[in-house]
């Protein structure tokens, strides 16, 4: 299967001297849901920002569909959809107006724009709320609207950075179902600290700790290889990352 993302020995050192990524290498196959697992501060968002042209690596190379993001950022941006970790929408605009603006920025012709808005709104189940202002939406609907926005440019590759963080259990389930549906038509790069989410959704996961990739494999293989006793996937990952369950719960409570 063709690799849509290739990351080779990437390092990222911030001006402050913090080493966010250390010799990170992996590839993402076309059509898979690839997960990056790690606690907060592991370097997940830095990695996504490099691949989505928002940051430049200090050394190493990477390509998205064969294009170097640091060389042709606009070309890469035309291939991808991105839901950043801290994303927002224009609060004074309705969902429709937000989608229309992004569609125009993506270069959609006006005759195609309406069809595309209706299509993505239908996919995300927000058709009947298209005229509602963002400021009047619940958290779940806002998240669905934001995912709809990432689809306006027909992306080949979708980056989702913690897409279910802050959502209640039912809404998070709904969002996961949407991600699964979307993966039928595109590659998805999913950053998450939710181990169960990674296990349920991802074809393969990379475990990131303090800027280093510890392993890349299918969740099932990792689970089978490292499971001790009656541990669940979260316990297994906690062992690999060298943190106990209490630490994880503290981290999640902070979110």
């Amino acid at each position: 299967m063709k690799s849509i993302v290739v990351v080779d020995e990437i390092n990222k050192v911030y001006d402050s001297g913090t080493e966010a990524l250390k010799s990170v290498s992996f590839d993402v196959k076309e059509g898979e849901i690839f997960g990056i697992i790690g606690v907060n501060g592991a370097g997940k968002s830095t990695l996504i920002r490099i691949l989505t042209t928002m940051l430049r690596q200090s050394s190493g190379t990477c390509t998205v569909d064969g294009i170097d993001p640091s060389v042709a950022p606009e070309s890469v941006r035309s291939l991808i959809g991105v839901l950043p970790q801290e994303a927002g929408m224009y609060e004074e605009f309705s969902i429709y107006e937000n989608l229309k603006f992004i569609g125009q920025m993506q270069g959609l012709e006006s005759n195609m724009l309406e069809d595309k808005i209706n299509e993505v709104a239908g996919l995300l189940g927000v058709t009947d709320r298209l005229d509602t202002r963002i400021s009047e939406l619940s958290g779940g609907l806002k998240q669905r609207a934001m995912i709809a926005r990432t689809l306006m440019g027909d992306p080949k590759l979708l980056f989702l950075d913690e897409p279910t963080t802050g959502l209640d259990v039912l809404v998070a389930r709904k969002v996961r179902a949407i991600i699964r549906d979307l993966s039928k038509n595109m590659t998805i790069f999913l950053a998450t600290h939710n181990m169960h989410e990674a296990y349920q959704l991802c074809s393969r996961v990379a475990i990131l700790k303090e800027g280093e990739i510890l392993m890349v494999d299918t969740p099932k293989q990792i689970f089978d290889d490292y499971k001790k006793g009656d541990q669940d996937f979260e316990d297994v990952i906690a062992d690999i990352l060298g943190i106990d369950e209490v630490d994880i719960s503290v981290l999640e409570a902070e979110l």
Binding site: M54, R56, S78, G88, F93, F101, M105, G107, M112
Partner: protein, 435 residues
């Protein structure tokens, strides 16, 4: 679907998005209407003041030097004394000495041979002089002239039908201080203040709105999404600048409308005398300052280039402002800078500088236009330096836009600081030199 939007297209979409957002926020509309409302309130207060003070208009003193001993001049003087808002006084003084001293408002000389000439049915001269430094004096002088003509026709000619020509030859004379061809310092200073006022009224609201257009994106977490679109970042920056220029244009229209409303209100409350005075004021001002078509075009081009520089500067600073509080602080500082620049014109002896010094001054952003207006006014026409100032403003606008576009390419664009922006510019120049 195109993979890369054109620069203008992306900029246009960003500009239209900002305009739509503008009209969806009551707060932003409030900011936009702030200056026209201030103008309207100021106008209302002014109109009210005129309305209530109409009856207590300052009186113009008419001094009459009657050397003819009043045999035939009494009726004439009585007629002149009926002119509104005047205080007529018959004085004994030397007409020519008073004329030289300019210490009068309106003065009439009835020569000693006046009565003799009228009696002999011969044309008798009357001399009216007025101090041209006050426009109300001119109106009074012309009223005296008109009343004298009426008196001549109705009283003298009717009573004496054999007289087929004017008995009274009325001479009117304007006396002004200084040489007509030399524009005084005062007018030059007034003209310097005008662009500063125009900038204040036209640019203050756009500065605030442009600054918060980026900080709101930062606070609503939409800036990253905006920069993630397949459009060059400089197109997005250009879109914000176009939005700023739209705001300047829109504010200008609103300010003009507010001005027209005030003009209509003034017309409604003021006397016709006041309207005449206003018209005369403009005519006098235009004449005295040598303000013609070329001067007007250069003047407004100067204002336009200043607006471009200020809006470009606002967009640059908006990328650096970390939140709305800082943006508001910056939007207060920029007008203060303009004020300081206007003040410098009174401090720096620009008129006494050498040509090179004046040209250097004219190349300074914003200040250059103020210098050009000042020197042009002193010279009584557009000086060559003005065109240098205009080109210099466009140059600075391009430099600022280029710097902003360069900074927008910084990888830390979402958390930009002054230090990071400086480093980005330094790296950019350094990289170019290496190439």
């Amino acid at each position: 679907m195109s993979s890369e939007n054109g620069k203008i297209n992306g900029s246009y979409i960003v500009m239209m998005k900002e305009i739509r957002l503008l009209f969806k926020s009551k707060r932003r509309i409030g900011l936009l209407l702030m200056m026209p409302i201030i103008i309207l309130i100021g106008g209302l207060i002014g109109a009210g003041a005129i309305y209530f003070s109409d009856s207590t208009v300052d009186q113009t003193n008419i001094w009459v030097i009657d050397e003819s001993n009043g045999d035939y001049s009494g009726d004439l003087i009585a007629l002149w004394s009926t002119i509104n808002n005047t205080n007529l006084e018959i004085i004994s003084a030397n007409y020519n000495e008073l004329l030289d001293s300019l210490e009068f408002e309106v003065m009439v000389l009835i020569p000693n041979d006046y009565s003799t000439l009228v009696e002999a049915n011969l044309t008798a001269p009357v001399y009216i002089s007025y101090n041209g430094n006050e426009t109300s004096n001119q109106n009074v002088a012309f009223s005296i002239f008109q009343l004298t003509e009426i008196y001549d026709v109705t009283m003298v000619q009717l009573l004496n039908p054999s007289v087929q020509f004017d008995l009274i030859d009325t001479n009117i004379n304007e006396v002004v201080e200084g040489d007509d061809n030399v524009v005084d310092e005062e007018i030059a200073q007034i003209l310097v203040i005008i662009p500063v006022y125009i900038i204040f009224f036209v640019v203050i609201s756009p500065i605030s709105l442009v600054l918060i257009s980026v900080t709101i994106e930062r606070e609503q977490k939409t800036l990253e999404t905006l920069f993630l679109q397949p459009v060059k970042r400089r197109s997005i920056i250009l879109g914000k600048i176009l939005y700023g220029l739209f705001l300047v244009f829109f504010t200008l229209i609103l300010d003009i409308l507010a001005g027209l409303i005030i003009a209509l209100m003034l017309k409604g409350v003021s006397t016709s005398q006041l309207q005449d005075e206003d018209t005369d004021l403009i005519a006098e001002f235009s004449k005295d300052s040598g303000f013609g078509a070329e001067e007007s075009i250069v003047f407004f081009l100067g204002i336009a280039t200043i607006a471009i520089v200020i809006i470009a500067l606002s967009v640059l600073l908006s990328l650096l402002a970390k939140d709305e509080k800082e943006a508001n602080m910056i939007s207060g500082i920029i007008p203060m800078l303009i004020m300081v620049m206007a003040f410098l014109i009174f401090v720096i002896p620009i008129a006494d500088m050498g040509v090179i010094g004046q040209y250097v001054m004219s190349a300074i952003p914003i200040f250059g236009v103020i210098v050009a207006i000042y020197l042009s006014t002193l010279a009584g026409g557009v000086v060559a330096l003005s065109y240098v100032a205009l080109v210099a403003q466009l140059f600075w606008a391009f430099v600022i836009i280029g710097m902003t576009a360069r900074i927008s390419e910084a990888e830390s664009i979402l958390e930009l600081s002054y230090g990071k922006a400086f480093r980005e510019l330094k790296n950019s120049i350094f990289r170019k030199k290496k190439k």
